[in-house]
C-alpha cells in the first residue's frame, strides 16, 4: 500500500498551482486610461491556418492603420492581443476567458471566427455583457436581436448565403420555376458550420421543388473519395460546397478527378478565397463562390494600409496578401468593430473607452451610409448598413465571384430574401428563447435608449 497513499493530493496541489497562475494573470492588467482593448481570436496554426492567417492579418492591420493614421478613435488608442485557438472550441473558450477582462473597460467585443466557438460563447457572453460579432457566420437565427441580444451576425448568415446561392442557380436556369425537379447536392463540413444552411435549403427545396442531397464531409476534409463517388452516383445538377480550409481545395481536386463540371459547383463565402483555388489554378476555372459584397482587390482602405502600415514596416502579414478575399473580410470585420466603438463614444462620451455593454448598444444602432463608408475608404467595398434592435444583420447582400484560373472575377450582387429568412429566424429564435427562459419579444424600451 505504500505507493498508493496520497491519491487526492494531485487534485488540490494542481488547484493551488492554478490559483497561483491566476493571480499572476490578474496582475497583468495594466491600468491605461485611454485605451480600447480589442481581443483577437485567431488560428494561425493547424488545419485551417491557410485561411485563418490572412483574415487575422487583415483584422490586425486595420487596428494598426487606425492607430497610426488617426491616432485611435477620438484619441483612444486601440490595443489588442491575439490568442491562438486552432479552431478548437475548448481552446477558443479558454482564449475568451483569458482576454475578456483585459484593458480598462474589458473586451470591446469578440469575433470568435468559428461557428463552434460562437455556439459556446453565445451561452457565456450575455452574462459577461460582451457582444459577439459574427460577420457571415455563427448562428443564423441570431439575426433576431430581440432574443439574441448579444449576437451580431452583421452582413450575412448561412441562411442568407444559402438563399443567395439558390437565387443564383434559379437565375442561371432561367427562373425559379425551372428549379423544379433539379437535384442540388450540399457538400458540407460536418460541424455546426456546415449544418447551418440546411434548414434554409430544405425550406427552399420545398418551395421551389428541387431535390436536396446532403453529403457530410468529416473534418478537416482531406479524404473525399467516397463523397465524390456518391456525387457521381447521385448526378446532381449543382453542387454547393460548404467547406473551410483544406476541404475546399480537396473538393475541387476531386471534382476535377471525377470530371464534375466546375461551373456547376458553387461555394459558400468561406469556400471562395485564394488559398482554396490557387494551387489548382486552371483546374478550378469556372468555379463560383459567394463573397460578402466585395471580393479581392485594392481600394482606398487597402492603399492606406500599405502607406501607413506596410511602408513603415509594421505589416502583420506578407505585403502581397493585402487585398486578398479573406484579408479584405478581416478589414470589414474590424472596420465594423471600430465603427461600433466610435458610435458608442458618440453616445456615451467622446474620447473615452467604452464597455461591452455600450458597444452592444452601438452595434444595434449602426448607421453607415454611403458618405461615411466613402470617408472610411470602404465606399467600393460595402453598401450602406443599418441595424436595429430587432435586426442584427444590417444588410444581406452577397456577390457571386468566379475563378478564371488566376484570379477571382466579381459577378452579380444579390440580396437574400428576408421574406423567407426572417420568419424562420423568428421561430427558431423564439424556440431558443423559450428553452433558455429569455423573455421573448422583449419590450421596445431597451431598444432605443
Amino acid at each position: 500500500m505504500k505507493t498508493s497513499i496520497p491519491h487526492w493530493i494531485g487534485c488540490i496541489a494542481a488547484a493551488a498551482v492554478a490559483a497561483g497562475l491566476a493571480a499572476s494573470a490578474a496582475a497583468e492588467d495594466a491600468a491605461g486610461a485611454k485605451e480600447q482593448f480589442i481581443p483577437l481570436l485567431v488560428y494561425r496554426t493547424g488545419a485551417y491556418a491557410p485561411n485563418g492567417a490572412p483574415l487575422a492579418n487583415g483584422k490586425q492591420d486595420y487596428l494598426k492603420l487606425i492607430n497610426s493614421r488617426d491616432g485611435g478613435v477620438n484619441g483612444v488608442k486601440l490595443t489588442y492581443e491575439e490568442c491562438e485557438d486552432e479552431y478548437k472550441t475548448d481552446r477558443g473558450v479558454e482564449c475568451y476567458e483569458r482576454l475578456k477582462g483585459k484593458g480598462p473597460t474589458g473586451a470591446t467585443l469578440f469575433d470568435p471566427f468559428s461557428t463552434g466557438i460562437t455556439f459556446a460563447l453565445t451561452e457565456r457572453a450575455p452574462a459577461d455583457k460582451i457582444p459577439l460579432l459574427t460577420l457571415g457566420y455563427g448562428r443564423s437565427e441570431s439575426q433576431d436581436g430581440l432574443v439574441f441580444k448579444w449576437n451580431f451576425p452583421l452582413l450575412g448568415t448561412y441562411w442568407t448565403a444559402a438563399d443567395v446561392l439558390v437565387q443564383h442557380i434559379a437565375k442561371r436556369e432561367g427562373g425559379f420555376d425551372k428549379l423544379r425537379g433539379k437535384k442540388i447536392a450540399l457538400l458540407y463540413h460536418d460541424s455546426p458550420y456546415g449544418k447551418e444552411p440546411i434548414p434554409l435549403l430544405e425550406e427552399r427545396a420545398k418551395m421551389n421543388g428541387f431535390e436536396l442531397v446532403k453529403i457530410p464531409i468529416t473534418a478537416p476534409g482531406v479524404e473525399q473519395k467516397a463523397v465524390w463517388l456518391e456525387v457521381r452516383q447521385q448526378r446532381p445538377d449543382y453542387v454547393l460546397l460548404w467547406g473551410w480550409g483544406v476541404m475546399n481545395s480537396t473538393a475541387l481536386k476531386e471534382a476535377q478527378a471525377t470530371a464534375f463540371p466546375r461551373d456547376h459547383m458553387l461555394g459558400a463565402w468561406w469556400s471562395g478565397a485564394e488559398p482554396d483555388v490557387k494551387d489548382i489554378g486552371e483546374g478550378a476555372k469556372g468555379y463560383s463562390a459567394l463573397t460578402i459584397q466585395y471580393g479581392a482587390g485594392l481600394t482606398k482602405v487597402q492603399n492606406d494600409i500599405l502607406k501607413y502600415v506596410y511602408d513603415k514596416g509594421q505589416g502583420t502579414g506578407p505585403r502581397e496578401e493585402v487585398g486578398t478575399v479573406l484579408y479584405n473580410r478581416g478589414l470589414l470585420i474590424q472596420m465594423l468593430t471600430v465603427e461600433a466603438v466610435r458610435r458608442a463614444q458618440e453616445r456615451f462620451g467622446k474620447g473615452k473607452p467604452v464597455t461591452g455593454e455600450q458597444v452592444r448598444w452601438a452595434l444595434e444602432n449602426l448607421a453607415l451610409d454611403q458618405k461615411k463608408l466613402d470617408a472610411l475608404g470602404f465606399g467600393e467595398m460595402l453598401k450602406p448598413i443599418v441595424t436595429s434592435c430587432s435586426d442584427h444583420i444590417g444588410a444581406s447582400f452577397a456577390r457571386i465571384q468566379t475563378w478564371d484560373g488566376a484570379k477571382w472575377v466579381p459577378g452579380e450582387l444579390y440580396e437574400a430574401d428576408q421574406k423567407i429568412i426572417t420568419p424562420m429566424a423568428v421561430s427558431a429564435a423564439d424556440a431558443y428563447g423559450a428553452s433558455k427562459n429569455i423573455p421573448v419579444r422583449n419590450p421596445p424600451k431597451d431598444c432605443q435608449g
Binding site: I12, A19, A25, T122
Partner: protein
C-alpha cells in the same frame, strides 16, 4: 526529517489498512482538502476557475475512469471520449425532456447509461486482448461519434447538431458562478476518487488486477473474467459518463459532436500513461499535465516579456509539450506517479541515502 514514519505503530488491522497509513500524509491531505474547499474559492480568479481548474477537475474524473479500465484491469480502450459523449447527450436529453429531474439524478443516470453502453462495447474484451481490443473500442468511438452527429434524436433535432445547456440547479443552489461550478465539480471529484480508491482496494479491484497481471492464472484461482472485465468496463464508463455530462454542462455549456472526438480519447489515454497507469494520483498528474501545461507554455513568453508572434508561441507550445512528454516517459516510463513515489521514498530516508 519531517516526513518520517518512525514511531507510528499500528496496533490493529484497521489502522494498518486505512487509506493513509502515515500520519504526515493524513495531515497533508486534510490541509489540501481544506485549502481546496476553503481557500481556493476565495483566491482564484474567474479565469482560473473557468479555463484551468474546472476542465482539469473534470478530465481527472474521466482519467480515473479510464485508469480503472486500462491501469487496473489491463483492458485498453480508445473509446473513452465516446462514453463521455454518451453521458453528455443523455444528460442533455434528460434535462430537456424531463426538466424537473434533479441534476444529481441526471448525472447518475448519464453515468449509468454510459456504463450500459460501456458493457456492450466491452463484450469483445472477453475474446480479444491488447491491440485488437484497442481497435474494437476504436470502433465504439467512431460509432458513437456517428450516432451523435447523425441521429437527430440525441440533439433533440438541433439543426446545426450543436446543443446548449441550461442553468444547473441543485436543491435551490443555482450553479452559475465559476466558483459554484468549481465546488460542484470538486465535491463530485472527491467523492468519486474515494469510491474508486476503495473499489480498487476491494475484492473487485483485486480481481481486476489479477486479470491485468495474467488472465489465465486469474481464472484458475477463481476470478471470473466475464465479471472482472465487464465490471471494469462498466465502472470506467460510468466515470466517463459523469465526466462527459460535467464537461458539457459545467465546462462548455454548448457543444457539438466534435467535442467528444477520438482526439479526446487519445488525450485521455496519454494522460494516464504519462500520469501513471494503475495509480489514482497518476490520473490527477496526467490531467494536470495535459490541461495546464499547454496553456502555461503558451503564456510563458508573455510572462517573461518576450514578444513572440502568435504562430511562434503556438508552435513552441506544441514542440515543448511534445518534448516534455518524451522526456518524462524517458526518465520514468511508469509515469509521473512513479516519480512522485520515488520522491517520497527519498524523502523518507533523507538525509541518509541508505
Amino acid at each position: 526529517m519531517l516526513y518520517r514514519e518512525n514511531g507510528q505503530f499500528k496496533t490493529s488491522y484497521r489502522a494498518d489498512q486505512q487509506l493513509l497509513p502515515i500520519t504526515q500524509d493524513r495531515w497533508l491531505m486534510i490541509a489540501l482538502i481544506a485549502l481546496s474547499f476553503l481557500v481556493v474559492p476565495f483566491v482564484a480568479s474567474d479565469y482560473a476557475f473557468r479555463a484551468l481548474i474546472v476542465p482539469f477537475l473534470i478530465l481527472t474524473i474521466a482519467a480515473i475512469g479510464l485508469n480503472i479500465l486500462v491501469g487496473y484491469c489491463g483492458q485498453i480502450s480508445l473509446g473513452s471520449a465516446g462514453f463521455m459523449g454518451v453521458g453528455a447527450y443523455v444528460a442533455y436529453n434528460l434535462t430537456v425532456r424531463v426538466p424537473q429531474l434533479n441534476f444529481l439524478v441526471v448525472l447518475l443516470l448519464s453515468g449509468g447509461s454510459a456504463a450500459l453502453v460501456g458493457i456492450a462495447f466491452g463484450i469483445p474484451s472477453l475474446r480479444i486482448k491488447g491491440l485488437y481490443l484497442a481497435v474494437a473500442t476504436l470502433a465504439a468511438q467512431f460509432f458513437l461519434d456517428w450516432a451523435f452527429s447523425r441521429i437527430p434524436w440525441f440533439t433533440v433535432d438541433s439543426p446545426s447538431g450543436s446543443v446548449s445547456t441550461n442553468l444547473i440547479e441543485l436543491f435551490g443552489w443555482s450553479v452559475e458562478r465559476p466558483v459554484d461550478k468549481y465546488l460542484l465539480v470538486l465535491g463530485l471529484l472527491c467523492a468519486l476518487t474515494l469510491a474508486a480508491k476503495n473499489l480498487t482496494r476491494s475484492h473487485i479491484g483485486r480481481a481486476w488486477m489479477a486479470t491485468r497481471d495474467m488472465d489465465v492464472a486469474a481464472e484458475i484461482i477463481g476470478v471470473r473474467p466475464v465479471v472482472a472485465k465487464l465490471s471494469a468496463f462498466a465502472v470506467s464508463s460510468f466515470y466517463a459518463g459523469i465526466a462527459g455530462a460535467l464537461w458539457g454542462f459545467v465546462h462548455l455549456g454548448a457543444w457539438e459532436p466534435a467535442a467528444f472526438s477520438v482526439i479526446l480519447s487519445l488525450n485521455l489515454l496519454f494522460m494516464i500513461i504519462i500520469g501513471g497507469l494503475g495509480s489514482m494520483i497518476g490520473s490527477f498528474f496526467g490531467a494536470a499535465f495535459f490541461v495546464l501545461l499547454p496553456l502555461l507554455l503558451n503564456r510563458v513568453p508573455g510572462m517573461l516579456g518576450i514578444d513572440l508572434s502568435t504562430t511562434m508561441k503556438s508552435q513552441l507550445e506544441a514542440m515543448i509539450f511534445g518534448g516534455l512528454i518524451v522526456l518524462f516517459l524517458a526518465i520514468e516510463p511508469r509515469g509521473l506517479a512513479r516519480l512522485w513515489a520515488i520522491g517520497k521514498e527519498k524523502l523518507r530516508i533523507w538525509p541518509f541515502p541508505h
